[in-house]
């Protein structure tokens, strides 16, 4: 199917005898906003690491945009069109906010080493474009005033937004957000969610997001996967998930 952007089939990941993820089956269609939820240690971030090449699946197949991405390095997968954010923020903290975003344009840049060193050819034009596009992204995330500040000096919520801006600068087809609202207050969370919906429409993105906060995921995702102990225990629309006895058991504890 042409509308399918990402498809993981029977993926398992074993760490020294421990199954972090097993028989994992997920598919995401173009333009969808899908949520991946589950209790702590359920394997959500492991799933992200599998999609982005940080880990290689022990068994199974992952197809992105019609081609297998198993065996590719993280940077190659990013170049194919998957960008991500991290649960524990990983900004380039000693660099400016602007440079953080500029870096992500890296593999779209065409000028070579010689042009860079001689400051000739496409260097100036492309650098100007990168700067302009970076500033546009920063404006979207209300960070344009802090462009010259070091990333480490931004407040927490702004760092989270910068991570998303940086991921977008890589011009992905699929954006993976790992707990984008972690540590934010309800007001910030609400604004962030509106922002996510907006950029999705604006950039024509497909988004997969991990979230802890159930209410939040229910609010914006069209489809949700629920992960527990490395396996998917439920999937469906927010309405279906809300009523699913397995999910209630996993989240509230006790026997189903």
């Amino acid at each position: 199917m042409a509308s399918e952007l990402l498809k993981a089939t029977d993926v398992s990941e074993v760490f020294g005898g421990l199954k972090a993820v097993s028989d994992f089956n997920v598919h995401i269609d173009r333009g969808e906003l899908v949520g991946l939820i589950g209790p702590n240690g359920a394997g959500k971030t492991t799933a992200f690491n599998l999609f982005t090449g940080v880990y290689q699946p022990t068994t199974g197949e992952i197809v992105f945009d019609g081609k297998s991405i198993v065996g590719l390095k993280p940077y190659q997968i990013t170049q194919r069109g998957i960008a991500r954010t991290f649960q524990n923020i990983r900004l380039f903290s000693e660099l400016t906010v602007l440079d953080n975003v500029k870096i992500a344009f890296h593999f779209h840049v065409k000028y070579g080493l010689l042009e860079a060193v001689c400051r000739a050819g496409r260097y100036f034009r492309e650098e100007e474009e990168i700067e302009a596009e970076s500033m546009k992204l920063l404006e979207i995330f209300h960070l344009e005033k802090q462009a010259g500040e070091l990333a480490k000096n931004l407040p927490y919520g702004a760092q989270r937004r910068l991570e998303i801006a940086r991921a977008l600068a890589a011009k992905p087809k699929l954006l993976l957000l790992d707990e984008p609202a972690a540590g934010m207050n309800p007001q910030e969370t609400k604004e962030l969610m509106e922002m996510i919906s907006w950029i999705r429409r604006e950039f024509g993105l497909t988004i997969l997001l991990i979230e802890h906060d159930m209410s939040l995921v229910m609010g914006i995702c069209e489809r949700i996967y629920v992960l527990e102990y490395g396996t998917i225990i439920a999937q469906g629309t927010p309405e279906e998930i809300r009523k699913d006895p397995e999910v209630i058991r996993a989240y509230l504890g006790g026997e189903a």
Binding site: T45, N49, V54, F86
Partner: protein, 295 residues
């Protein structure tokens, strides 16, 4: 027969030399294990130990065992002082700052020693005359017996201290996870200080033994053995005590074979070649476990 004998003889020489590397490597590995510092000054501590032993023997006319003891204690204290003055203020500084400081301390020890004892090498008095045992054509001389004996005794004591005593347990806990150890009520500053003390004292013994073995000491004698001991520590798996000993012995034997059968000018290259091979194929060393950064 000739060849076997030569091989065995080089093995004996190599193990003697390797014991010395092992003693230095133990200090390196303990210090790295606890504060993650390549203590470039460790080889110079060993040099200072050699000089203290030298003066104890030549000026105070002591015999080898009291000289070793004095050097052990005084150099141990020196190690603790160096840690307190130079490294403790940088406990939370970036790693490269501490490393540069270690290089600074190394230069300081080398050139202050040079100022006080002059750069000319000193001749260590011969301690054993021609005492030697011959087993099946292989000569084990008095110095080698001394080295092997002292090293063995120190290993036993160190193992006891690290495994059985309260301090030893605290050291192991702190090298596993300094912060958690601190939360468990371990005074990590004290433990780090003790680690430097023990490590430096062991290096001092190695220094005196080298003086006895090669008869010659000089203020820059610590540079190469210091680096090679680090190689030994990496080879065994940094932070792992038995690893340092095994690493030291392997390195000593390889060096003895290279200088005995190839050329002594390639001796130093052999050590570094081992280092690079280990780092490329098993960076965690022979006894180390693999760890991966969590994403």
């Amino acid at each position: 027969m000739e060849v076997t004998q030569q091989i065995l003889q080089q093995l004996v020489n190599g193990i003697s030399l390797g014991s010395i590397y092992a003693l230095i490597a133990l200090g390196y590995t303990m210090i790295y294990g606890i504060i993650k510092l390549i203590n470039f000054a460790h080889g110079d501590i060993y040099m200072v130990g050699a000089y203290i032993g030298f003066f104890a023997i030549t000026q105070a006319h002591l015999s080898i065992v009291p000289a070793l003891l004095i050097s052990f204690v005084v150099t141990g204290i020196l190690g603790m002082v160096v840690e307190k003055l130079a490294y403790k203020p940088l406990r939370h500084a970036p790693r490269i700052s501490v490393l540069i400081t270690a290089i600074g301390v190394s230069f300081f020890l080398e050139y202050t020693s040079m100022y006080f004892v002059s750069p000319t090498p000193r001749t260590f008095p011969a301690m054993f005359g021609d005492v030697a045992v011959t087993v099946g054509g292989i000569v084990i001389n008095g110095q080698q017996m001394l080295i092997l004996g002292i090293t063995a005794v120190l290993m036993v004591i160190l193992t006891y201290v690290v495994q059985k005593t309260k301090t030893g347990k605290a050291m192991r806990a702190a090298s596993f996870d300094t912060e958690t150890a601190q939360l468990m009520g371990i005074d990590s500053d004290r433990i780090i200080s003790i680690t430097f003390g023990i490590g430096s004292a062991l290096a001092a013994v190695a220094g005196v033994l080298v003086g006895v073995y090669y008869n010659s000491i000089d203020p820059l004698m610590g540079i190469m053995p210091g680096l090679k001991a680090f190689v030994a520590a990496v080879l065994g798996g940094i932070g792992i005590l038995p690893g340092a000993v095994v690493g030291g012995l392997i390195l000593g034997v390889v060096e003895a074979f290279v200088s005995g059968f190839v050329s002594s000018t390639f001796r130093d290259a052999a050590a570094f070649a081992i280092l690079i091979l280990v780092l490329l194929f098993k960076p965690t060393g022979l006894f180390g476990k693999n760890t991966k950064e969590k994403v």
